[in-house]
């Protein structure tokens, strides 16, 4: 009996081993296949997921972008936006941005970019000085409608054709102020609200996008930096009109003043919107666009007030005792640069979409 039992065990063992080997082989193949398919499926799903998320992030960032937040962004700086994938936006120059988004899912990553630009608020500039009321100029005033490139900037296109020097219902002159342009002056109907209705619409549009909102009063403006970096959080920092490659050279804020404003000596650039009356005390320089619903006066004195770009006002007077030195020079380049702080962000017309490596 004991001999028989030993033989039976000898047959059963190889049988069990065969079954185990065959079963293991089958199981291994099945598990291998399952894992392969699962990995491939997961990878495909992640690829699609990250890509669609990245595209959604770009679209959301574009849709929710506000110029108010990005007017403070300087060329070369990187801001992050609240949207799917936390997109980052880099200002390439005054009007161009690179929007990038990176979405990760496990080991899969999608990086997409969008080259976008500002579609600025449209403003028709027909004269260096456009006034809804009478303009009174003394002999030390110079108004030029021929296009002058921005001093110190290599980024301006060639001068465009000249606009008129003054566009106003009436121009009263004392002495012999210089009024040049093509033509030197044009007559336009008076505007009850200071600015013509189409210019008033632009005024409100720009005011709604203001970088700085101020109550009014007397201000002395000049560039402010932290170390070598422009500091846009200082309300009297309105950029640097004299050094376009300096720290604040590219900072062109939209400043909205809800009242009367006295600008004491200093400098600034961008877009200045004044609901009330603007009085300029020389020496003062501003590059860009000035729109004043009330009157614009230049305080008497020997120091010059130089405005490069374009000026819209409800009326203009340069005071006479002693004669104020006022210079308004049209610059399409400066008006363009200033307006590029406004408007909406749109993808470039072509080759906007970028897969980033």
């Amino acid at each position: 009996m004991s001999c028989l039992a030993a033989e039976k065990r000898g047959i059963a063992l190889p049988l069990v081993l065969w079954v185990v080997v065959i079963g293991s082989a089958l199981l291994t193949v099945a598990v291998f296949l399952i894992f392969q398919e699962q990995r491939a499926g997961q990878a495909g799903r992640r690829l699609v997921h990250t890509f669609t998320q990245a595209e959604a992030g770009l679209a959301e960032a574009l849709a929710t972008w506000t110029p108010r937040s990005l007017n403070r962004a300087l060329p070369g700086t990187l801001d992050s936006l609240a949207a799917v994938g936390s997109p980052a936006i880099r200002r390439l120059n005054q009007g161009l941005f690179l929007l990038t988004v990176r979405v990760r899912d496990g080991a899969t990553e999608a990086r997409l970019g969008r080259l976008v630009r500002v579609r600025p608020v449209r403003l028709a500039v027909t004269a260096a000085l456009t006034s809804g009321g009478p303009v009174r100029l003394e002999s030390d005033a110079t108004i030029r409608g021929d296009d002058q490139p921005s001093p110190g900037s290599a980024d301006c296109p060639p001068p465009d054709s000249a606009v008129a020097g003054v566009a106003a219902p009436t121009v009263l002159t004392t002495g012999s102020p210089v009024i040049a342009g093509s033509p030197p002056s044009i007559e336009r109907p008076p505007a009850d609200s200071g600015l013509a209705s189409e210019d008033l619409l632009v005024f409100h549009d720009l005011a709604s996008q203001a970088t700085l909102s101020l109550a009014g009063g007397a201000l002395q403006t000049s560039p402010a930096t932290v170390g070598t970096v422009c500091n846009p959080s200082v309300p009297t920092n309105w950029g640097e009109p004299y050094a376009s490659i300096g720290p604040c050279g590219a900072y062109m804020p939209i400043v909205h003043v809800d009242g009367d404003l006295d600008l004491l000596h200093g400098r600034g650039q961008g877009i200045l919107l004044v609901e009330g009356h603007l009085t300029l005390h020389g020496p003062y320089s501003f590059a860009g666009l000035i729109m004043v619903r009330g009157g614009l006066d230049v305080a008497p004195g020997d120091s010059a007030v130089r405005l490069n770009g374009a000026v819209f006002a409800g009326g203009v007077g340069s005071q006479t005792t002693p004669p104020a030195v006022l210079s308004i020079t049209y610059s399409k380049c400066l008006v363009s640069k200033a307006l590029l702080s406004s408007g909406q962000l749109v993808p470039l017309r072509t080759r906007s979409w970028k897969a980033l490596f």
């Binding site: 001999c3 028989l4 033989e7 047959i11 190889p14 049988l15 065969w18 080997v21 065959i22 082989a25 089958l26 193949v29 291998f32 296949l33 392969q36 491939a40 990878a43 495909g44 690829l47 060329p75 070369g76 880099r90 200002r91 390439l92 120059n93 005054q94 009007g95 161009l96 690179l98 990038t100 990086r111 970019g113 080259l115 630009r117 579609r119 600025p120 449209r122 290599a154 980024d155 301006c156 296109p157 060639p158 490659i245 380049c333 363009s336 640069k337 307006l339 590029l340 749109v346 993808p347 470039l348 017309r349 072509t350 080759r351 906007s352 979409w353 970028k354 897969a355 980033l356 490596f357």
Partner: protein
């Protein structure tokens, strides 16, 4: 008596056991063979699937970025497409200046590009340079194609490392890259002209989808079938077009067989075929 009986039983048992073992062994060998066939066929099919997945990921990534209206689809046939494939994205750190050679301009790019598949290569790459024109009008924006000849180290005005590129822009008469047409910060895209087509490898005599450049032809995926790559070019209405500038959608089909024959369910040896069809909408055709 007991011993004789025991021997007789042992013999019968041995015969039965041997028969059973033989049957089991035959079944096991058959099963192992089946398992091996199954494994081999699975591996082969996974290879085919992987190939198709590569096609589904790689080709759309190259095609999506094209602007067919502006000439990014250089040539197109039902079995091959020649495109200007984007490779780098950088920005000018100073406006272009007139170069020494007639018709040339010197561009200074930031040395660290925003994105690059590989380094810019004067031998194979060309540039698209963004021209803003009137900065207030997005409608007049365009890209100027430019061949490049030399790449030299340079320094940007802000002190960052830069790279000076001698470029020969192809501009229409009366237009130029200087004088404010192209500004600091303008994006510059590096591109390479490549052809995606079928070719037969001289090494293994199999067909592959290859990427052909001016100097090189390398496999991208495969092996595929002899008719393993087919393109269809569609316009915005979904109609097939023959003119490159009207292409809005590129549909492609990749067909691949297993490299080795595998046993099918009915026991035959075969090289099963699988295929992938993808529809790629070109993202960069003009929007307005």
């Amino acid at each position: 008596m007991r011993l004789v009986t025991s021997r007789g039983v042992a013999l019968v048992e041995l015969v039965v056991a041997l028969t059973l073992s033989g049957l089991l062994a035959a079944a096991a060998v058959g099963l192992l063979g089946r398992t091996q066939d199954f494994y081999r066929s699975a591996v082969q099919q996974i290879d085919v699937s992987q190939n198709l997945r590569v096609a589904g990921a790689f080709l759309p990534a190259e095609l999506r970025e094209l602007d067919a209206v502006d000439g990014d689809v250089v040539a197109m046939t039902p079995t091959a497409v020649t495109i200007r494939a984007a490779r780098q994205l950088a920005a000018l750190c100073r406006p272009p200046v007139v170069g020494d050679a007639p018709g040339s301009v010197n561009l200074t790019l930031g040395a660290a590009p925003f994105s690059a598949l590989r380094d810019l290569d004067a031998a194979t790459d060309s540039l698209w340079i963004f021209r803003d024109g009137d900065p207030l009008s997005p409608e007049d924006d365009d890209w100027i194609a430019a061949a490049i000849t030399t790449l030299d180290p340079d320094t940007c005005p802000d002190g960052r490392a830069g790279r000076r590129v001698t470029a020969f822009p192809r501009v229409a008469p009366g237009l130029s890259l200087e004088e404010g047409q192209v500004m600091t910060g303008a994006p510059v895209l590096g591109f390479e002209t490549v052809t995606y087509r079928l070719y037969r490898s001289s090494a293994d005599r199999r067909w592959y989808v290859g990427m052909e450049t001016a100097s090189d032809l390398q496999p991208v995926l495969g092996p595929v079938t002899q008719d393993g790559l087919a393109f269809t070019y569609l316009d915005s209405t979904g109609a097939t077009v023959a003119e490159a500038a009207r292409v809005r959608v590129i549909e492609f089909r990749v067909r691949a067989r297993t490299v080795e024959p595998i046993r099918t369910r009915d026991g035959r040896l075969d090289q099963p075929l699988d295929s992938l069809v993808a529809v790629v909408y070109l993202r960069n055709n003009p929007r307005y």
